[in-house]
């Protein structure tokens, strides 16, 4: 039963947060951690770190570790405004994937990688062993390796649905590694509380079990769109908020035909707003225009009654921004309901 499971997981997260806050203390070195199939050993907090992946970067900034970041890479969109000052002082190795040498050239003690396809068995930057041979520790964020097989499928295939506990685990583990456990606990508490609040607000409204679909973008305006699948981050967000995702595919961002979406006729349509302008559909205004003009989608309930929610694309990733996204969706959905009454 999805509702029961979500209640349970929220409660568990809250409890975990509370329990852990009692045990916030300095890290005991030497520290041993299990991370995505490797055992990491730390004698002390790493002096410097290079990040590959915006999620890891912003997580370290949120933990107040900006001065330890020697280089960043793999950016999907602009850094969050509250981190801009810190980020400006940090050299950016690459907008996309960095080269192995540029990473080790910074002589970091630790490399934090958001994706296994960056640093992993078939890593574009290098394998974890390559870094370990040079006495550089690597931390792979659990959201990309737990319950996911990255050797199949173009984005990797999730064997288990994404769960926010992987996110909180990253925060806790990184805080532990850098001996800032108190800040880690505080961050996890803040995130879990905000998430629980968003979920509770929706729960008390009449929007439970309402059907929804999330449109990210499309390669061309009229072509099959990228929708949120069941097991990815966006799918997790919808499910936790108690919305029923009409897309049945288990993929993270499957392409689903408009035929299928129109016939499933979700009550709420969520569309992504982003700064990127690669595809015409990146512009959310163009998305709205398409929905209203296309001979099939204009008859969908969500479009006819203007039950369209707009959420930032950055907030749909497995990073600390995910909670922002859930808040945005919850608030917009509640406003819709308020307008309908």
């Amino acid at each position: 039963m999805p509702v029961r499971r979500l209640a349970f997981s929220t409660l568990a997260a809250l409890l975990a947060g509370t329990v852990l806050s009692f045990s916030a203390s300095a890290t005991e070195y030497p520290l041993q951690l299990h991370n995505c199939g490797h055992t990491l050993k730390f004698d002390k907090a790493p002096a410097s770190v290079v990040t590959i992946g915006q999620a890891g970067t912003e997580m370290l900034y949120a933990l107040g570790l900006g001065d330890k970041v020697a280089g960043t890479s793999l950016w999907f969109n602009a850094v969050q405004p509250r981190f801009k000052a810190v980020n400006d002082k940090v050299p950016r190795l690459a907008d996309n994937d960095p080269s192995f040498e540029s990473v080790i050239g910074k002589r970091p003690a630790l490399v934090v990688s958001q994706f296994e396809w960056m640093v992993g068995k078939e890593g574009v930057v290098g394998t974890r062993e390559q870094f370990h041979d040079l006495r550089i520790a690597t931390y792979a964020m659990p959201s990309d390796c737990e319950g996911k097989n990255n050797l199949s499928g173009s984005d990797g295939t999730r064997t288990a649905a994404y769960d926010a506990h992987a996110l909180y685990k990253s925060v806790q583990q990184l805080a532990q590694i850098f001996d800032v456990e108190a800040r880690g606990k505080a961050l996890v508490n803040e995130l879990t509380q905000r998430q629980a609040k968003a979920v509770a607000e929706l729960k008390s409204s009449k929007l439970q079990n309402v059907s929804a679909a999330l449109w990210f973008s499309s390669a061309d305006l009229a072509i099959d769109p990228y929708m949120a699948g069941q097991k990815g981050v966006a799918g997790y967000m919808l499910q936790t908020l108690g919305l029923r995702n009409i897309v049945t595919s288990a993929e993270e961002w499957p392409t689903v035909g408009w035929e299928t979406i129109a016939l499933a006729n979700p009550s709420i349509l969520i569309i992504a707003r982003m700064d990127r302008r690669r595809f015409p559909a990146d512009d959310y205004q163009k998305k709205l225009e398409f929905l209203k003009k296309d001979p099939v989608t204009q008859h969908m309930d969500a479009v006819k009654n203007n039950r369209i929610v707009i959420v930032d694309a950055d907030a749909l990733q497995g990073s600390i921004r995910m909670v922002d996204g859930m808040e945005q969706i919850a608030q917009a959905a509640l406003r819709l309901q308020g307008a309908a009454r």
Binding site: A222, G257, W258
Partner: protein
């Protein structure tokens, strides 16, 4: 004359049946009654009460797509006939002139490198890329040969050089700046994708296909003359240079338009002319209409299969044309082995 009318009617009937199939079968299930009612409403002014979404799906999505599939199949097939006859090479096909490679470069420039910042669609970019590539190949062939197509090897080699160049450019752009999502969008387009076509595209592709068939049919005698080489054709009174130029331009234009709208669908231009030759012989008066019809039916069938093979997922149509086309071609090859004059 009577035979001609009978054959044309039979051909159109076959085409109509194929289009009906394309309309009735799709990624979601619509009952035949609904399909019939929608068509009756639109074509015969009937007043059946039909859900507007079903109406839109059948009329705007599926019918447009079936007609585009038919036009593309016909267009690519006769381009293949032209190239195989002019170059006197059984392995010649429309993409020999570098057109699909150029189209893919244009498409990735727009969607991955962000040229045009979302204002230009992939189709426009692809078309300009195709035209540039063809111009380059034509110039190269002209400069390499002593003018004219006396040596068809020059064209083939120039085409290979052009294709390789543009394919390399495509790879460069994708690997330098593409994310996994963009690479996926391009991959789908590179293998053929009919999901974004609407009535506007239908008018364009159908117009181009019909015009192309007309021009080809007009030059049927000239194409027959080319069977024995351009010198023999000249001796038979065919204005060699003019015909070569016109037909090559027609083939290039048809291919460029089709590829920019639906992506690079392979196998059709190569195999259908051979299959048609096995069925109706080598005289172009019969070969051209037969190729056009077979190409049209084949592509409609491939589109239907690509949508229904795996439930809930749409496969790229280029994969289906190759998977289906190769064994069929092998069968025809084996069957015709004994009876060839």
């Amino acid at each position: 004359m009577l035979r001609l009318i009978l054959l044309s009617t039979a051909a159109l009937a076959v085409l109509a049946v194929a289009v009906q199939l394309g309309v009735a079968v799709g990624e979601t299930r619509l009952s035949p009654t609904v399909v019939y009612q929608v068509l009756a409403n639109q074509l015969a002014g009937a007043q059946y009460p039909v859900d507007p979404i079903d109406q839109g799906i059948v009329w705007n999505y599926r019918l447009a797509r079936a007609l585009v599939a038919a036009s593309c199949g016909a267009g690519l097939a006769i381009s293949g006939v032209i190239l195989q006859s002019l170059l006197r090479n059984a392995l010649a096909e429309p993409y020999l002139l570098g057109i699909s490679a150029g189209a893919s470069t244009g498409a990735v420039l727009v969607s991955v490198a962000g040229l045009g910042a979302g204002a230009i669609s992939m189709t426009t970019g692809a078309f300009f890329g195709a035209v540039c590539a063809f111009a380059l190949v034509a110039l190269l062939a002209h400069a390499a040969g002593s003018g004219g197509l006396r040596n068809s090897a020059q064209i083939v080699l120039a085409g290979i050089a052009g294709s390789q160049l543009f394919n390399a450019l495509t790879s460069l752009i994708i690997t330098k700046s593409g994310s996994a999502e963009q690479a996926r969008g391009i991959m789908f387009w590179l293998l053929g994708n009919l999901s974004g076509v609407r009535w506007g595209d239908t008018l364009l592709t159908a117009g181009v296909a019909v015009a192309g068939i007309a021009v080809c049919a007009w030059h049927a005698r000239a194409l027959d003359a080319f069977t024995f080489g351009s010198e023999s054709a000249a001796a038979l009174g065919v204005p060699v240079r003019r015909v070569q130029l016109v037909l090559l331009l027609v083939a290039a234009l048809i291919t460029a338009v089709m590829v920019s709208i639906v992506g690079a669908i392979g196998f059709v231009g190569l195999v259908i002319p051979h299959a048609a030759r096995f069925m109706v012989g080598v005289r172009h008066r019969r070969l051209i209409p037969a190729s056009a019809l077979m190409g049209a039916v084949f592509l409609i069938a491939a589109d239907v299969i690509s949508r229904t093979l795996i439930p809930g997922q749409v496969l790229p149509i280029g994969v289906i044309t190759a998977l289906v086309g190769a064994p069929v071609f092998a069968g025809i090859l084996l069957k015709g082995r004994g009876g060839r004059a």
